[in-house]
Structure formats: structure tokens, C-alpha cells
Symmetry: C4
Amino acid sequence: MPDTVEIGLGRSARRGYHLDEIALVPTRRTRGSSMVSIAWQIDAHSFELPLITAPSDAIVSPDTAGALGALGGLGLLNGEGLWTRYDEPGPILEKLRSQLEDASLADGGALGYLQRLYAEPVKVDLLTRRIAEMRAAGGAVAVRVSPQHAEVLAPHAIAAGADILVIQGTVTSAEQVRRTDDGDTRSGLNLKTFIAALDIPVIVGGCANYQTALHLMRTGAAGVIIGYGAHSGSTTAQALGIDVPMATALIDGAAARRDYLEETGGRYVHLIAYGDTYTGGDIAKALACGADAVMLGEPLAAAAEAPGRGLYWDPTATHPRMPRSSVVEVAAEDERPSLVELLIGATSDSSGERSLFASVRRAMAKCGYSTVKEFQRAELILSRR
Amino acid sequence: MPDTVEIGLGRSARRGYHLDEIALVPTRRTRGSSMVSIAWQIDAHSFELPLITAPSDAIVSPDTAGALGALGGLGLLNGEGLWTRYDEPGPILEKLRSQLEDASLADGGALGYLQRLYAEPVKVDLLTRRIAEMRAAGGAVAVRVSPQHAEVLAPHAIAAGADILVIQGTVTSAEQVRRTDDGDTRSGLNLKTFIAALDIPVIVGGCANYQTALHLMRTGAAGVIIGYGAHSGSTTAQALGIDVPMATALIDGAAARRDYLEETGGRYVHLIAYGDTYTGGDIAKALACGADAVMLGEPLAAAAEAPGRGLYWDPTATHPRMPRSSVVEVAAEDERPSLVELLIGATSDSSGERSLFASVRRAMAKCGYSTVKEFQRAELILSRR
Amino acid sequence: MPDTVEIGLGRSARRGYHLDEIALVPTRRTRGSSMVSIAWQIDAHSFELPLITAPSDAIVSPDTAGALGALGGLGLLNGEGLWTRYDEPGPILEKLRSQLEDASLADGGALGYLQRLYAEPVKVDLLTRRIAEMRAAGGAVAVRVSPQHAEVLAPHAIAAGADILVIQGTVTSAEQVRRTDDGDTRSGLNLKTFIAALDIPVIVGGCANYQTALHLMRTGAAGVIIGYGAHSGSTTAQALGIDVPMATALIDGAAARRDYLEETGGRYVHLIAYGDTYTGGDIAKALACGADAVMLGEPLAAAAEAPGRGLYWDPTATHPRMPRSSVVEVAAEDERPSLVELLIGATSDSSGERSLFASVRRAMAKCGYSTVKEFQRAELILSRR
Amino acid sequence: MPDTVEIGLGRSARRGYHLDEIALVPTRRTRGSSMVSIAWQIDAHSFELPLITAPSDAIVSPDTAGALGALGGLGLLNGEGLWTRYDEPGPILEKLRSQLEDASLADGGALGYLQRLYAEPVKVDLLTRRIAEMRAAGGAVAVRVSPQHAEVLAPHAIAAGADILVIQGTVTSAEQVRRTDDGDTRSGLNLKTFIAALDIPVIVGGCANYQTALHLMRTGAAGVIIGYGAHSGSTTAQALGIDVPMATALIDGAAARRDYLEETGGRYVHLIAYGDTYTGGDIAKALACGADAVMLGEPLAAAAEAPGRGLYWDPTATHPRMPRSSVVEVAAEDERPSLVELLIGATSDSSGERSLFASVRRAMAKCGYSTVKEFQRAELILSRR
């Protein structure tokens, strides 16, 4: 029975749990790390690591997407970021760190600078060109578009050769009601019809509860993103009062996946955990709560290869009227580890923030599990930190 | 059943929840922000924003009340503040920030300075004059008096043209028992008789539980204030041991409103949340717990237009013998955003403390609600922060 | 039913609550402060304030005991402190602050200095002289002795004219088992026999649970101390693993008082709360949990009159082998308020740490109670801070 | 019934408690400290203190093992540490503090330095020599080997005269499944067969739950280590998501001990608590939760005699690819107390971190218990800190 309490006369609320409120419990068997597989397969695409990046210009360029692919992960280009707004974002990105640090309060500071930078319109031909560059860099090509611009941009992305499409807004539902310019109520993007017409796998989200996850699964998506990308600079909870207790959201999403599997007689939809995963332990716990893969942003911004040079920001930071996250310094510019150290190791850092997926593998081994699918049923314990 | 536990042998206590312990849960439908109305109507007065200010000299002068009205809110003048004690408070307020910062410990510091400033008696003719100035500035005219001085001041305020009267002490009940000078017990202000004799809507408070809220509703008030105005400088909890878990208090107040609605066959009394609302998310959660509007103090003190020049204090800071809040620096004097940025945006600040009501609108849209009344039934989740 | 949970297989624990986890809930009636009485009467002695001091040399000398009495409280001299070890502790106390601050780590720092200072033996004739000085200063005379030295010192204290005897160790039980020098087991001080033979009221403690409190009541004590004097420098929890959730301990003590009242057909034993009370609100909550009076230490050390000149230490800091609290700086030497400001006000400080008993009176008034006895049944709410 | 809650739809978790969430409750009897025995006997070996050290080069050399034995504890040499890798680790240890502090980030900092130092292979002849040195220094000789190297090293250790063997990995189970070089699955070290063949008592661990503890008991071990050695520099929780709520883990281990005692008709296996014990109170609580002894690391690193000169690190910090703890500064190099002050006192320090076992003795006395075995049933209370 759900863990609900009466928080006031006649009104109850369920209690939600964050990843840092739970811990993994080892079983009585342990395994050698070499016996553990963390491979991820979605549709026809296989990855050695259960990793897709956040669609952040601070971590993904066509080049770094290639580097991520070579290491076994999936780099996700923001189809509405700097690479599709500017012909040559390279020099902009190179100067960005110093410019963000110099941005004066009077001009809105770092976020004001980003808002002006992202006010440049998205160009369809640049989207096409970036996809070609990603293909050339090797690995699967994944592009993110927003629900608002999916109808315009997605066909171009697919025509250009994208392998995987991600339709992602902060809070995305299967049924969005909007008003047309002449004041009539109308539905927003009909995801079900839209996805049915596409011939590549689509990942949609984010969402954070059973009902929304189930309805997003019914759109025909191959994967559903759970969470809104909470990171250390996020302010969605402060600005909107919406917060995602990720452990609970993932477990609820897994319940939706199970019910949808039964409803469809066997269609398995992937859950992708997005937010509040900073360390190997966080990733392991997200998988143990039911995720098939994680979408990582901030932790990868420390990489020497990352375009943000140690800074991290995501699309919520560039909103023209109401940004909902800040620019975060993840690493000093000259103290950034390599992507391989971050993802796989070896490392001499004990923070848990490097060697991320070797850590996941080791956590599974010590807990006694061989595959992610088994690990999704691991025993959890609530533990105050 | 209420969430009570035995805290010692034979003694139980209910558990109360603060706004920062809960979060909103989006439904499976989202809406465009343009489809959301946050308008507030109390008695014959309509406001675009569900906002009444705290009666603080740091944020409301007759002029700023006009500015607030123009933006869709309701500015509430403290009828027992500097504007009714001094003929020309303008110069006093202009110098106040530097004087508060210079106040020496030996003289009681900033609060000692305020105590001396507020020792000047309130003058009825100044109250009359300020109301005229507010009328001239435009918008509805609202004035706050304390329960102790309501009998003397309210008739003058109404005669001068006030539209809405607020009778507000920190903890206000429908039945106050006092002792007369000759030592006999007598009742304090009889709110029921008093309000019945007035011909403008009256808002009373604050209170924090079902019984007191219900009894205040039975006085004939148009609105009841829930909460004691807790802000970052408040020390009511330390000084008196009284603390308001706002989420629980609002939900209990909403239960009283519901019962009173049935008891009267349809009289709807507004709930106004006062305290612990710092961000758009806090305001959204207060509405979702049952508030019809919020009374904001500290968050508005950052405005360039605010008389306090970036400092905030409220009437509890000026108590002659036992102040129960301190003077808070909300913004550096030269880094204050405009009132329009604070209330509506756009902004380049991601703290959640600006663009407050655009945030509320967006929160409702993302959660799938069109009106405040629907939103008062939103799903909540308990989530540790 | 008690709030117990299984913390491991086959082992349960009750949950205890600290004062800062609870808050007072106002009733629907409020009262004027002038209608509230906080007077305290124990045996034949009446006090305007429900206050006895901790037996700390940092706050009580014969002179300050007189000053406390004049303000309505009860100063408790440590019968085993500097005043009974040194002929002229005045100059020692005058230099103590600078000496504590100069104490070098090599010599054990401040506590090492205190250990050496308190190594001087207690003299019976000094005890007699101090009691005479206290009588001369006016007010009731209260002296504390430890359980270990009660048999030797108490008769002298009573002969010298003490009005109230306090037998107080950190953790005191009615039955202490000790070993004699020749190795046999024997009982320690038999409190029941000992108290029966004395003809002044005796207060004993501290203790922290129902059983111990009940057994201490059965010794014939007039009052029982609940708590071990936890203050901001206390380390009993770290050193011994013993911690007192004060709200629970007081409520349990009140249950013991109730059962003992029935068992004896009417003998009322006073509960004195000792520890974790720093503000007026803390004191109010202690009374609302069942205390008849509070034993205050650290909060009074800020007084201009206090011998410790802004520093606080208690007997647990001077233990020769294992001190269990540190020396705390409560106030800068030249920024100390008067005792009257601390106890009664007026004040310009909003921290809740001054005007302590005016705050208690106000808290009771706002909650709607006239006497401490009624207030002991006040409604409480659990509220996260 | 266990304290479990549904943390998401269809998925429950038990709640685990850390030592700092519980406190001891004194009974109504207290005892003199001299009546309390904290002696520990495992197999044929008796110790005045229920203490075995962590196998850390920062605290144990052959010499300090002797010093620990003289004080009544058991020093545990890491059989795979510096003393068995280097012929003359003395000079290395003497310079280590300055070298760790000088280690540059570019070389992986302090942990990088340690990784290189521990890359030197372990030599069997050095192991033999160290055991001879420990025998010469006096007291029982205890050596730790890892599960991976137990089969190679243990016979040499025993042949050289070790009294007690500790087989310890971070997370150790009775059944480890590994893969051979040719890819076949095979079991790891079979602890049951292995231990049966040895003729000295073996302690194994760590583990953290009932099932694993029970299976480790069934291997024939004399003692089982509960916990993974969490200390202030540990990052196992961050890196692996595995966290040990120690109070719960010990109580569960005690349940396994009880069930195994019944299953075997009387074989008693010792529980050794390893992790999160920093003060005398922590140790007392570990014993009260069921431990027979504690394994201490970080608290002893402050000793003047400790080879680490005020720094602490354990084997998890030296992992070649993924260290899971950092080097902690426990004390300034020139402000280290003696081992006798740390373990027994007297002290002038009130932190609870010195006079550790005198504190334990006093805690038991104040709670009314004479032996560790009785104390394992002490009443506990949950208390927020």
C-alpha cells in the first residue's frame, strides 16, 4: 500500500524518495566485476554503456558525440542549441567560459549572456549539416528537439540521417492543450500520430509519474525519460514547486512499463533516468530503481573534451523569459579529467564522480547481479544521509 | 485519519508540514501558459494577480501601492506605520538604509533605531491623508490596522475611502480576553459585531489552525489570513515556540472554509497565505494547498521601487519591548530589479525569486490546471529537500 | 500507543522528540499578557519566575544569587564549585576569561586550566560562609551538592541555613550500586533514607525516563530534574551515547508525576527541565511538555552580572579525567545585556534569547492559557525545523 | 514487524538506522564505573578492551601493534600493506605526511601517490618477518589478508606464528562467483573449506545484512566483521551506492548470531563493528546494538604513536583503479595525544574522541550494565541529531 500521510485535514500526500535517501543492499553472493554486463540495447542500437547524454551544448558537439560513441555511450546533440543556430559555434564556445565569467550583473549576468546568444534563430540547414558531421564522427546519431518545434525540425533531422530522435521538454505529456492565435482551444503536438509516422526510434519526456509515463509509452515511443534533469544548478523546484523524487519516479515508471508490457502483450519501453545522478553510486541506484539507462549532463561537463570547458548549462538555463537553472562550474578549466577517466577509469579520485561506469559495474558485482535487468530488482534500503 | 504520533507517554501530537516539504505533481495533461488564469476576485474587487502585500513600510507607500495596483496586485498600507506617524516620511525612508546600517549596538542596533522611530504616535489625520493619496495613485485602497487599534482607526479609514480593511495582529483570534485597567476581565475587540457594522470587506488574521480559522470566518470576514508572516528574519518560533507549518495550516484552513461554506449555505471566505513564500514555486504550492491569494512581504522588498531600498522589516520588528524579527537585507541597494521583473518578468535570474507570478502560471500549466480553484485540488507529494 | 519502530531484526526502539521538533499550537482564544501568571511555588517558596539556575560558577556567585532572587528567580550555588574551594574566588573569576583564552593546548587548553583550578579541595567552612553570604544577599538560598558528596556536605549546608538542597549528578538514579574499597558490592547513597532525614525540600536529578523519574519521586524529593543540562558545548551524546530528547523526557516525567500523584493520593512532585532551552520559545515548550520550572545555564551566562564574563561552563566541564562539555563563549565581554533585559526585557534584540520570561508569558497569552498548570496541556505539533 | 515502506508503486524498502540516529537510555539503576567489565575474549585470546584495529598502515606497524597489545587492544597488521611490500617502510612512513601534502594534482594528488607506493608487490618473506617482529613486540599477533590473496598468503602467516587471521575485503560474501581466465564461471575462495583447514581462529568480513552474516558464520569463522569501515573520508556510498546503516546492520547481525547459535546448538560467533565509530558514545552504541568488539581506524590515527603522523587512510584508498576513500587529516602533526590518552584517558578534551574506552565503561555504568553481554540488550531510543 502506498506510503501516504494526511498532511492536513482531509488531504493526503504520498511520500516520494530521492536517490540519496536510498542505498543498495548486497545479497549473500558477490561476483567478479568481469562477470557483469552493463550493455544497453534500444531498438537496433547497442551500447556498451547505459548512457545517453543530456542535450547540452556544454557537453555535446558533433565531435564529442563521436568520442562518446567510441567509448560506448550515446551523445545527444541539442537540435535547438548553438550548433544549429550558428554557422561556426566553435569560436563562440571557445570564448564562452571567459565571457560567462565576465558577464556583468547589469546585463543579466551569465544567464543574460546565454539568453542573448540563444536568441539567434535555429536554422534547418545547420541541423542537416551537424547530423552529417556526427555521422562522419562515427557511432549512432541522436538529436533532441523540443515538443514545440518537433513538427518542423524532426523531418529534417530524419532526412539528414539521425538514428534516434529525442522529443524532450522539461515537463512533457502525451496530451498538451494549447490555445491557437485566434483564441480557440486546440491540442498541441499529437505525439501518437507524430511518432507513428516516423521510421526511427523516438525517446520522449521528461515525466515523473505513473500516469504520464504510461500515456507517453502509449504514444509508441521506444523510450521515456523520467525526470526533468535536476542538477546542482537547477531551480525548477524553487521556481515552479515541482520536484522529482527520482527513486519513486523511476519505480513508478517501472510499474507503468510493466503494465504497458502486459497491455501490449510484450512491448518493452525503455526508461531513461534524467536528473540527480552525480556519481557512480547514483547511477547504480537509478538502474536498481528500474532505469535501463541514464541521461547524464553535469557529471560529463568536467571532461577535458567537453565544449563548456568545465562549465555546465542545459536548455532550461537559456529560456528567454524565465531561466530555471544557472551556469555551474563543474571543474576548473585546467583541471579537467579525460572523458575516458570520467566514464571508465582508472582514476586517482575517490569522489565517486569519476570512473562512473566502472563503479556501476563494481556495485552490481558486489551486490551479486550480472545484468541490468536483474539489477532492476535489487534490494533497497532507506538510509538517512 | 490525521498523521499523529505519541511523542511521550500519554501525549500525542500531529505532524505539520511546511511548504518546502511538499512538491506539486504534474498530471498527465499539460497546458499552454496562455490558457491559465490566476486572477483573484474578492468581494467586488478584481485583481490580475492573487497578491496582497504585507503591511510593511519597507515595501508599501501610497505611491508603490499605485504601482502594485497597475501591475494587477493589491498594495496594503500599514495604517500604523511610518506614513501615519510622520508628516513627511519620505526623507526618513530615504535615509533609513544608511541609518539602520550605522545603528550602534549600544543603542540597540537596527531594531533599537526602528523602535525609536515607531515610538512616534499614529495620527488620524495622516491616515486620512494617506488614503486620499492612495486613491489618487489608482487601484483599490487597502489599509491594515491592528486589533488593538481597530476600533479607533477603522472608522476613519473607511470614512477616508478605504476599499478593503485588514485587521491583522500576529496571532489573532475571534475571542480575545483582556483585563481592563481596573483589573476586571473583559473581552477584547468583538470582531463579529465590529465587522457587521462596517460596509467594506474585511480581511482578518493571522491564524494557523482549523478552529481559529472557522471562528474568524464566522465574524463575517471576507478573507482570513493564514500564517504569521514568517520570513527569513522572523524569530516567532524562537521567541514564542509558535511555528506555522504552512502547508498543513492552509489545508486545515481550507477544511474550515469548506465546513463554513456548508454551514452558511454558500458563503465563501478567502484564504490568504502569509509567510514562508519566497519563490514562484512557494506561491504555487500555497495556492495548491488552498490559498486564494498570497500576502507577500520580503520577496517584494528587493524591488527598485520599494521604500526600504533593499531592506525588509515588518511590524513585528518594531515592537517596543520585544521585537520578533530582524531587519533583512534582501538586495544590495544598487542591484534591485524592477517590480515588473519581480512580479511578471522577463528575467535573467534563475533563483525562482523573480518573475514570481509568471512562474505560478507556468507551474499551473505544467501541472495541467486552468484556474486557481482547480489548482487547489492539485496532487501533492512529500519530498525531502 | 508509543511511537516505536523495528530498527533491526527483533529489536525495536521508541522515537524521542527534542524541543526543537515541536511547536505550540494557539487555541481559538487569545489572552492579554497581563492575564497570564507564570509564578512558581515549590514547598513553602514562591517565585515570580519558574526559574532555577544551573549550578554553574559562570553564572552564580552569592551576589548574583541575590540579584536573581530580586528578579523573581532562584539562583543555585554549586556547593562544589570555586566559591567553596577558594577563600577569595573573586579575583580568580575576574581573571578567568583572559586565562581561559590564553590557555595553551600543551596544557590541555581551557579545560586543562579548569581541571587544575577545580583540583583544589572543597572546604566545609567555605560552604558555610557562602550560605551566610547568600542569606545576606536576600532571597531563598539553594545549594547543589553531588550524590557522591551529599552525605558529607548536605548537613553543613542545612546547618548553615540553606532553604533548598539540590542533589545533582549528570545521570542520577535512586539506586546506585558501587563497590567498596575492599571489593564488596554495596549500595551508593540511599536517597530515600537520606532525604527523609532532612527538613528542607530536596530537588534531585538529572534523569530522563519514566522509571527513573518515578523512583526519584519515591525518594521523597520535592522536585525532580529532567535532563542532563545539554547546552551548546555539551558532548554527553558524543562521549557516552546518551542523549535526551527533551520533549519526550518531560512528557514521560509528567506521566510519572501523574502516576505518583495517584499512588500517593496527592503528593505533587515538581519537574524541572534542564537542558536544550536557549530561548523564550524553548522555555515555553518545556513548560507545555509538563515542566513546572526550568533550570537555565548557558542563556544566563550572557548577563553583565554573570561571573563568567560572557563565558559558560558547567560542572561537567571540570571533570578531572573526562570532561563532557567545553567552555562556550555566549557573549563578547563588552556586549553583555543586563540580567533584567535577559529575564524580563524590554529588549531591542529579536533572537528570542532575551526577554525570556516575557516571551513565555506572551506565548501563553497567544496560545490562550492563564497558568502554567493549564499550559502543561497545550496542543503541540511536530514541525520540522 | 520490520519497518518497511512502499517507496514506489509495488516496491518496498526497509528503513535502516545509523548509529547517530540512536541513543542509549539509562535504566533506573546506575553503577560505579569500577563495577563494569568491558573485557573481550575471542577463542583463546583475552583482551582488556573490546578493540581490534583496522588493518591500516596509518595506525599499525609491528611496533604499534605491541603498544596496542600492552594497552589491552589488538593491533591488526595489513598483510598486504607497506610493511609487506617494502623492506624498510620506516623511512617511507616518516616522509609520507609531507609527501602526501606535496603531491600535485597532475599526478593524481595524494591518492595517486599512494597508488604508486602500493603498486610495489607484496613479498611473502616480508610477511614472515613482520609476524616475527610482532611476536617479539608482545601481545597476540593478528594479520589481515584479502579474500583474493588469502590462499597464497594465509599459510605463510600461520607458519610464521600469527594467532588470529582476518580475511577481509570491503564487501565479502561466503559465495563469490568469478570467471577464470579461459572464461568459465567458477567459484572464488571457498571460505568454508579454507577456514576448516586452518588451525587458528579466523575473522571474516565485512558484510552488512542478516543473510550474508549467517552464511559467513557457517564458514566456521570465529568472528564476522559488520560494516565496510565507513570513516570521514569514505566514499563507498557515493561511488557504489552501497551504504551501511550500522545500527540496523549490527542488530541484524546479532539476529544471525542468535539463529546460528540455535542452529549449531551453541557455537557463538563474535560480531565486530567496523565503521562510523568516532567517539566513545559511538562505540558504546555499537556494543549496545550487539557488537562484541569494534574495529577502529580513523580515531586511532590521531595517536602520537601512529605511523601516519595524524593522517589516516585505509586499504580502500590505495585501490589501483578506483579508490573509495581519501586521505583524512585527523590531527595536526604536532598536536597528537598519546595512545593511552586516546584509549583510556585521562584527558582534557571534551570531544568524546579521547578516553574512548573509559567513556564506554562510564556509559555502561550510567546505563546500569556490568558486562558487554548484558549491555547488548540495552534500551535504545531514536533521536534526531
